[in-house]
Amino acid sequence: MRSKITLAAALLGVTFLAGACASSEQWTDWRGHTTHFASGEHGMFSLRNNLEGTNPKVTRLDVEASRTQNWWGKQISVEPGQIIQN
């Protein structure tokens, strides 16, 4: 009986440690990765690349136009006046 409990506790410990390591590894990976989440990886750029082929250029006006087209409308967000006053 005691050996079963010991085994269960050991398995639980290993599982916990494995989970902790994975999360720590992911965290290190995210911190070290410098191109993870900018919109450079985002739809508007990759779409143009895929559709238009070789070496398309994206200008600031393209970014602006894309933002206007893809704008979500109402977002759920804090009102600026709750944070800053002019």
């Binding site: 900018a38 970014v63 602006e64 944070i83 800053i84």
Partner: protein, 229 residues
């Protein structure tokens, strides 16, 4: 014949005008002088307009993955209405793609990641505005950073917002590496919002992140005549 040409020219002019009005220019991201509510703030807005414009041009042209919101200017902490302490204030929306690793982080670590990546370099650039260091009317810096909460409804996204207020002296000490990041953070006022809901102060961590200085958007062509230092 002349009338037809005139109508065509007028239509072209109107179309060009409509297109131009849709596109925002760097100056549009500045809070207009008259919208600052006190004489001190208005004076600062006038005095530093060239520097603010230069800052806005940098963000507009060189960092197309972020966008200034709610007017760049000299603002005060809404939670501290008794004073007229003015902060050089930036509100930045960070546009980012879905990222599972980022989504798995706790709100505090997400906020720390965003602040380290975008907040610190923006504060460094704000602090470099000529004249600001010796200006006793500028109490400090304020940076609000907003991003889409991972996993929120794509049709009506929830934004997470981290707002920070910091005094000039400790900020400059941190930037010149004479004050540890933890001490700098301790002296900040920090507010975190999940959508509209205030979540209070987060245990913010700050670390080195050279993303803004090194990342180039693939195929992005900076407008001719613009330098991105």
């Amino acid at each position: 014949m002349i009338r037809r040409a005139f109508v065509a020219a007028l239509a072209a002019l109107l179309a060009a005008g409509a297109a131009a009005s849709v596109q925002a220019a760097p100056a549009d991201y500045l809070l207009p002088v008259e919208k600052h509510t006190t004489p001190k703030a208005r004076a600062l807005a006038v005095k530093y307009r060239p520097q603010l414009l230069q800052f806005s041009e940098y963000v507009y042209h060189c960092l197309p993955y972020v966008e200034i919101k709610n007017g760049l200017g000299f603002k005060k902490n809404a939670k501290d209405p008794a004073t007229d302490d003015r902060f050089a204030s930036l509100w930045l929306y960070v546009e980012q793609g879905e990222d599972k690793t980022f989504a798995a982080l706790s709100p505090a670590r997400q906020a720390s990641a965003i602040f380290s990546r975008y907040g610190v370099p923006m504060i460094r650039r704000l602090s470099a505005m000529q004249g600001l260091a010796s200006d006793t009317d500028v109490y400090g810096f304020s940076v609000a950073l907003a991003w889409v909460k991972p996993g929120s409804d794509p049709n009506k996204p929830t934004l997470e917002t981290l707002a920070t207020f910091m005094d000039q002296a400790s900020t400059r000490a941190y930037l010149s590496k004479t004050l540890p990041a933890s001490d700098w953070v301790d002296r900040m006022k920090i507010y975190f919002y999940d959508g509209e809901k205030e979540m209070g102060r987060l245990p913010l961590e700050v670390w080195e992140d050279n993303f803004v200085a090194t990342y180039k958007v693939p195929n992005y062509e900076v407008q001719k005549g613009i330098a991105c230092p």
